[in-house]
Symmetry: C2
Subunit: 262 residues, 2 copies
């Protein structure tokens, strides 16, 4: 894919997007006892942001979010939920220094002259609907977009300054995720198909940010009735081997709809 092709495609897509509306995705992944979030490092400047994009006139808000996620990770039919729409004035001023200036610098270095659209397209006031996604990190293939130089997983504790109000988005997403955990069998989307109980507990602890009592956690999860127990996982370690579990897809779907007092 040559730069010219990218540029043309990018410009074409922009020209058929709704003005003033964007979507941003807080994509959570889980690995080695820690929550991670997918971030983009912009070209030319030390600027980081959540993956986002504009809404084509032929797609719904949800479609746009799914497309953005697909373009950045290659994943489809993912747990993706809208959680808030950010419509404050001066969102560009929410970041540390003048994000507007920084973005302007970046855009000015892009080979965008003479296009059907220009830098001012970005300078307009935007309302952004934010989604959060839960993803099995091992299945995602991070891929930067036209404006960014890298796309990578960052541990929650190592998140750098983010542009605009993206830090607020991340914080609110985490808050929603914690609340959802109370009544949804979240694990399904963040873990591989089969997992051990300690893995599941580690995930819950990473999301909640505090430790849980092992025995009680196990009892609660098993009593939910969504877990199917499979064969043991022989790791070679000198101790009792943990069972592998998976979510019962039927009961899982039912819980997703009804919610459960967890």
């Amino acid at each position: 894919m040559g730069n010219k092709v990218d540029l043309d495609a990018f410009a074409d897509r922009l020209s058929e997007s709704l003005p003033g509306i964007s979507v941003d995705c807080v994509v959570f992944g889980y690995d080695s006892q820690q929550l991670h979030v997918l971030l983009l490092k912009w070209k030319y400047e030390e600027a980081w942001s959540l993956p986002g994009g504009f809404v084509h006139s032929s797609e719904s808000l949800d479609d746009a979010a799914h497309r953005v996620l697909d373009e950045r990770t290659g994943l489809r039919s993912i747990f993706l939920q809208q959680f808030h729409t950010f419509g404050a004035l001066g969102r560009a001023a929410s970041g540390h220094e003048s994000d507007y200036d920084k973005m302007r610098k970046i855009l000015e270095r892009m080979p965008l002259k003479g296009q059907k659209w220009d830098i001012n397209w970005f300078a307009k006031r935007f309302v952004s609907t934010a989604y959060f996604a839960l993803v099995d990190m091992r299945r995602a293939r991070p891929h930067p977009d036209f404006l960014s130089e890298r796309c990578e997983w960052v541990s929650l504790e190592e998140v750098p300054d983010l542009i605009l109000d993206h830090r607020m988005m991340l914080d609110m997403a985490l808050q929603y995720l914690r609340r959802q955990l109370q009544y949804l069998p979240i694990g399904r989307s963040l873990l591989p198909e089969r997992f051990t109980m300690p893995e599941l507990q580690g995930l819950y602890e990473a999301i909640l940010g505090h430790p849980l009592v092992r025995s009680n956690f196990q009892r609660k999860m098993l009593n939910l009735g969504t877990l199917i127990r499979h064969e043991k996982l022989m790791t070679g370690a000198a101790n009792k081997a943990p069972y592998l579990y998976s979510f019962d897809p039927v009961i899982y779907e039912r819980l997703l709809e009804e919610g459960i007092g967890f």
Copy 2:
């Protein structure tokens, strides 16, 4: 206020609104054991809708929602919470028959010719952020807007067909309200300053849609620690007089922020 003045003001406001973005409010009130919702009856046609409006370029999304609510009810600083943004394609086709045709008919009968904007402004694709509000019905003063002929409270069971996807908005708002009830001391906004325990219980039953056991409800509410007991209310009825209660404002605020496992 003459019609001409209204029209000019309306046109002016439209011209300085963001294109493609609107807010809609699901305003809940409670009276005589029933939840009510504030609806608008449009001029000229049998069309009902939720109160809504457009977002001025000088105000945030939240500001716009507050303004709409103020304009329709005269109420300020109200419990108002964003709950979802509706961005499906063909939202206009979500209603029963062709809402688009119906709205077009209405707009064509409006004295709008020769304005800076026209009917096509409404025909564009819109993304709408929906809010739900909780209101003490006795303090609200319903007031129709320029496009509508009446603004009134309708019992939840008597809600007529609504235009666009407003029925879906209402249903989702109710769903969110029920969920919020689990961990927020909702009553504060929907009841007068002082209320009796049976009134509070009636409200909870109206929201949840099923009866609750009196003694257990009372125990739970009192144990929350948010209620202050005042003098008894002498109704003149031949039975034990109920106490009046109010919410402790300090504890109430704390609960609003933290939420409680209720």
